[in-house]
């Protein structure tokens, strides 16, 4: 076998190993493709409970935690206590939590809100349009939108309290922490 070919094969194996090592170091729940670092798609949706609308533009300048959920989604129930605590802690500050009901009936969604103590603004997705605009692959999924309206992060799967609070604090302006 020629020397150059031997070196090429060894180099290829080393490169592949490095790529795999870097890939495995990456948190699979922290996906940074698609809409990350891009302006958050705007939406105006009917509130799930009560009257009025839920509009992203109404929360401009705030940190927005956008959570996609459904009543049939077991991991959504698992993560719900963390969201409740975040809402209790930040509801009077510069942080807002918004829930988007995904592929679910309105009645089931409303029941879910009542049974799980969800009091933050929630709305039903418009035939999946909002989920597609954000790049949702499966729920629960949580997007973190900075005060500049840019999607700064995304968490796929049930989120724990530490990850949630860390993500929020990272995005809050220092003066308001």
């Amino acid at each position: 076998m020629p020397r150059w070919l031997r070196y090429s094969i060894v180099g290829g194996i080393v490169a592949l190993t490095v790529v795999l090592m870097l890939a495995f170091r990456h948190d699979p729940l922290d996906i940074r493709t698609g809409t990350i670092n891009r302006p958050a798609p705007a939406f105006v949706l009917d509130r799930l409970e009560g009257s009025g609308k839920v509009a992203l533009a109404d929360h401009a300048g705030k940190v927005v935690v956008l959570n996609f959920f459904a009543s049939w989604c077991i991991p959504c129930k698992e993560e719900n206590p963390a969201l409740v605590r975040a809402w209790e802690r930040y509801r009077t500050s510069d942080v807002v939590v918004i829930g988007i009901l995904y592929q679910d009936s309105l009645d089931s969604g409303r029941r879910y809100l009542r049974d799980n103590g969800v009091t933050w603004p929630t709305a039903a997705d418009d035939a999946g349009r909002i989920a597609f605009a954000y790049g949702v692959r499966g729920i629960p999924e949580t997007y973190f939108i900075g005060t500049d309206g840019i999607i700064a992060g995304r968490h796929v799967g049930p989120i724990d309290e530490t990850t949630l609070f860390n993500a929020i604090e990272t995005l809050r302006p220092k003066a308001q922490r």
């Binding site: 076998m1 493709t33 698609g34 809409t35 999946g128 597609f132 790049g135």
Partner: protein
């Protein structure tokens, strides 16, 4: 020309005509465009299924969105780009050649080229001329054979 031959010619002409008709350039209908686009898009909640083939709710919603966009007069590229903006190239079942994911198309070519290089290298080293001795080696070999023949005693068969 016999009747059988005439029938064969007519049948062949019919087949060629049908093939030509099926591949004729024509403007795709809205339904054909939807089928084509959804067959290229990945169902985002499935494992390797296209939007066209998946029975999942999210695939149905994606299909509805494609239908709506086609009705609005968007081009195929615009519709694909809308999904790519949200999901990246991952949402396309075949990665585009123009983007960095297009490198994946090079992998089989590189593998074939490397295999050919190895095969050619092997063939060269195993060919009769590749291992042929040089003139000085042949001369040394002849000298050694001559010396050994001179030293050799006559062979005995052991029966004497």
């Amino acid at each position: 020309m016999t009747r059988e031959r005439l029938l064969i010619v007519v049948a062949l002409l019919a087949i060629v005509g049908a093939l030509g008709w099926s591949v004729r350039p024509h403007e795709a209908t809205a339904a054909e465009r939807v089928d084509h686009i959804t067959s290229e898009l990945r169902c985002v909640t499935c494992q390797g299924l296209s939007v066209k083939d998946s029975p999942a709710e999210s695939a149905r919603q994606m299909r509805d969105l494609v239908v709506q966009r086609v009705a609005e007069g968007r081009t195929d590229d615009q519709i694909r780009d809308e999904f790519r903006a949200s999901y990246g190239d991952w949402v396309l079942l075949s990665p585009p050649v123009a983007s960095w994911t297009g490198l994946i198309w090079l992998v089989p070519l590189i593998a074939v080229a490397a295999g050919l290089a190895v095969a050619i290298g092997r063939v060269r080293t195993s060919s009769p001329t590749a291992g042929a001795p040089t003139a000085s080696e042949l001369a040394a070999l002849r000298d050694r054979v001559a010396r050994e023949e001179a030293l050799d005693l006559p062979q005995t068969d052991g029966a004497e």
